[in-house]
Symmetry: C2
Subunit: 335 residues, 2 copies
Amino acid sequence: MKASAISHSNIALIKYWGRQEDGGRGMNLPLNDNVSMTKEGISGGSKLMSHTTVEFSRSYEMDSMVLEGRELTGRELERVRLVVDPLRTKAGVEEHFRIGSRNDFPTAAGLASSAAGFSALAIAASSALGLDLSREELSTWARLGSGSAVRSLHGGFVYWHKGSSHETSFAEKVCQGAPFPLNAVIAIVNEGRKGVSSDVGHEHAHTSPFNSIRTELSQKEALLVRDAILDNDLRTVGSIAERNSKYMHAVMMTSDLPLYYWQGETLKVIRSVHAMRDRGLEVYFTIDAGPNVHCLCRPEDALEVQKELEGGEHVLRTIIARPAEDPHTIDEHLF
Amino acid sequence: MKASAISHSNIALIKYWGRQEDGGRGMNLPLNDNVSMTKEGISGGSKLMSHTTVEFSRSYEMDSMVLEGRELTGRELERVRLVVDPLRTKAGVEEHFRIGSRNDFPTAAGLASSAAGFSALAIAASSALGLDLSREELSTWARLGSGSAVRSLHGGFVYWHKGSSHETSFAEKVCQGAPFPLNAVIAIVNEGRKGVSSDVGHEHAHTSPFNSIRTELSQKEALLVRDAILDNDLRTVGSIAERNSKYMHAVMMTSDLPLYYWQGETLKVIRSVHAMRDRGLEVYFTIDAGPNVHCLCRPEDALEVQKELEGGEHVLRTIIARPAEDPHTIDEHLF
């Protein structure tokens, strides 16, 4: 009863911020449908990938997990059980688990490490347990560990239906990369951990006066972006993604636990993107719950965007990413 | 027919951002009532004051004005005429004017130089013309040059009634400084000119999805802040001012001419203010249309706040300001 999987991180084009009240903490039901690109790093030495091995065995006296060489305890291990327990019950298995997981990119710096991790976890755990579940169902279990993990259960472009219950809040593939050639040039300005985790931040979204407008607009924009992806319309996808990202940060900054994920370097990259666009380069930014900036452009413009970004001293390094393949099991185990 | 006046800058506690549509450009009628402190610098070598001399004379063949040694032309001179022409007409005078004006602080860097300037202009011009107008009426004429100038026609704390016509949009004094001892420690992080003037920015406020909520909340908060000033309630004034300022910047950043007045240094000062408050110092921030930050605190805490702010390399210098006296005419002419 041992299996391993890899899964890629994702970048939201329409953001998930704040949870449905009835959904409670454990369910991670978002306030609005949202859209993302599952991303594979193709430069900078990082595939933006999580590799996770799960084993159930009578020889284990307790559940345990090692993430990046660190033994998880308390709340962190509890989050893992939120995903594994229902699968273990479904399979009628009582053995304890041992899990190992590694990311090939910085953890908790707004690059959605938890999304890749919990997605790989759901795939590896269900495989180790001998369960044959659809991607859509697996996405609902990954969601219990981290909301945005739901979207990493598919490669390419992904639509997360907010739903109103555990079963109805799942991820669906919009398309693989082909009909919409897109690159994200990620400007990394800080690789440290976030001060406030998004898990905590979500709880405060409703205290911002802008939260309900953001939610309402995002619900509409999710549909617009999905259509524009299928129409290969970068201008629409990019301009909506850019403003949707700002709506989220406006909510974050004005909640009663004000969250300032931006840094000075973030603002400099924003200005660079405007400057590039002003001189005709079609590039748009989006920023997750962290200081780093994803710059969305056509693959043929990615090197120029990269060069421009790396010209600034405020950018530590960049990673170019493209739509990733579907996550899947692999034979290579971490232990 | 020559007179001079001094007037101080002001810092909004409830912001003016965006104009009533029917008011048109020339009228500067705000979307919501707003509140400010007219401020006198008491450290840092700047009183945050404008000194303006106006003379009408047959010897002048055209209207002219020198601001900070620079001869104004075009749109800038037009704005001056918007204030002076109605006063000249009211006085039945046909002579051209010559005006000189100087600020003792950086121009157009979010320290409301235009507010002090147009307020001093209204006072000096009306005095030179021999008009005896109330402060409230004078405030309406200053408003035509720059919206926020309306508030500098009084010292202390000031309430700008948004009104719905030229006559009904005027400034009223809430109180002089005494009942509410307040200092603003201004963290100057950049002394350069703004990229986009607030005059242009106002025109785009309505394109932000958050504009109407900001307006509605600000209208309520203006009344709350006025009452809290009279109650000497710093916690209420400070916390409302701080969030109201963030509402304005959220609108600015999400309008279709996105305005990012914040810089990295601005974010660092925001974090300093949170850190100071976390350890029990009662201090709140507010940010106008520029990168500099006003930190509001009790006079007895101002030196500690100043020390903390100046400890950061990102702060160029600070100015401590207190509620200013009323603006008034003076005998000293600039030419």
